[in-house]
Symmetry: C2
Subunit: 341 residues, 2 copies
Amino acid sequence: MLQEIKQQPEALARTLREEGPKVATLGRFLAARDIRLIVLVARGSSDNAALFGRYLLEITSHVPVSLAAPSVHTLYNAKLDMRNALVVGVSQSGEGTDINLVLENAKKAGACTLGITNEPRSAMARLVHEVLLIRAGKERSVAATKTYTGQLLMFYLLAAALQQGRGLEKLRQLPELASRCLELEPVVHSLVERYRFMNHCLVVGRGLVYANVYELAIKLMETCYVVSERFSSADFLHGPVAMIEADFPVIVFAPPGKTFNDMRRLTQQLRKLRAETLVISSETAILKQATRTLRIPVKIDEFLAPIPYIIPGQLFAAMLAGVKGLCPDRPRSLQKVTKTL
Amino acid sequence: MLQEIKQQPEALARTLREEGPKVATLGRFLAARDIRLIVLVARGSSDNAALFGRYLLEITSHVPVSLAAPSVHTLYNAKLDMRNALVVGVSQSGEGTDINLVLENAKKAGACTLGITNEPRSAMARLVHEVLLIRAGKERSVAATKTYTGQLLMFYLLAAALQQGRGLEKLRQLPELASRCLELEPVVHSLVERYRFMNHCLVVGRGLVYANVYELAIKLMETCYVVSERFSSADFLHGPVAMIEADFPVIVFAPPGKTFNDMRRLTQQLRKLRAETLVISSETAILKQATRTLRIPVKIDEFLAPIPYIIPGQLFAAMLAGVKGLCPDRPRSLQKVTKTL
């Protein structure tokens, strides 16, 4: 897992180089259709990447996005009106039975289909109209890391395709930003021992970085067996805040940007409740309120923040698993490809 | 909370009587528009009700549904293409600032808007094209119960309106089914002491009853301060299952129907992992595999199951709060109306 985390700058650079040129042709393909709805279909970490896609695509393309509930299709056989819809399947292996079934039905119903996968010869790659290939190389750890950031990158490419290539140029910064965040490895290393006996925690964040909240929580559940709640700061205040008491561990994603003031207010409130906070941010204004910090070494445009900001989270999960005596590559009860219907 | 839980059969009957006749006019209003997308906007328990709406409406009306991310609108000011969209706001108080802002923007962008609320004189009721009013009476407990089931009922009415009244007749059974589930009160009473020192748990379920998974988890978080994970059985197998070890408490919603076999397999797997299960079901086939059970006294059509099945969950949360020495009506850090943007 740690090795694959460190491969991310290179995987991102390779994927940009090899898939970037597809943006123009994909853009023409989509422009020829009148896309009025985007449906994203995924499970597990890929579904977390889809959550990012939902925010990015709605904000940049103005097309409404729906995160599909696969069981509506696989168990209840609903036939949805898919005229003018782009249906995007996201799966590391491209072999998720349920995801592929939804794509197949959507295609029959007249939708445009796109696959985001790491495997060019997968069932998904064969069945969709267009493919965006994550060039991350084989992922061996059960815990997805480089394919998660690869999937986020694919959503940037799709967003660029839907906007005549706008935003593509900025993405070239991503491999370097990912590298800078990997510099946090020794900081994380000296930090994780503190959490050796942490059994539960809460992860919060909002907006574009909200997907990372889900992703870090799932990593902590599968590699460290920590019961990890995940909430947007807004939903959190509608109920779950009641469970916060002194010493409750809360991990906060707080990149600068539109969600920053919200996260700062929340961190203040958590401080009053005497919760223990671990804040991931480049900003001193919030870091100084935290119990512990992971300081991002560079101020990052909030549109680019999700990929670099998950990296200290990945390092944290991988190293905490080590301190807890667990092997993050082979969590109990799990295999690399999960098949559900 | 316990009082309001017990008012549900009467509240459901009253709401059906007084709002049921609206189905025909609402149906005509919607038929006159070419609705091709439904967007649901909510926070907290209302968002859990919206999750039910997503399944019910997609399965019965064939119109794709999107659960809105309010911050896309409130923080990032996205202007989505809302032609042919029906945007439904769900809020007990009708005063959720963010929800109302999304409704207002949608209306300006040409969408049809519908409000589901308990308050006829609220800001939401005034701003939308059409209103479905939950006739639950004032809800005093911070923990929503009768307004949650009232909101579920409104989604049944909306589904009927979108299908020329189909399915409306069946709903008359709901008040009686809710009454039958209230009979479980003494069973729950004798059961809850076992969970006095439970600090975390997992709630699982799938499909139409998936909303109850979220709703029970939020009730346990806000009234009992139990760290409660919530997953569909499919997503659960894509990672979080790794955290399950001996004695891990898992609450399973398993009504008969399309999701039943899945839940039975999952309960078997949990048994092998020596987890402790509490199964809510009418079916002996799954109840006999459970550590503890809440037997629903009547076999319920899966389309009607969500309202009666949440009732033992509500009783469980309210009574567990009592055993833990907490007041479920006034959770710490919370007020009845939460305003977020």
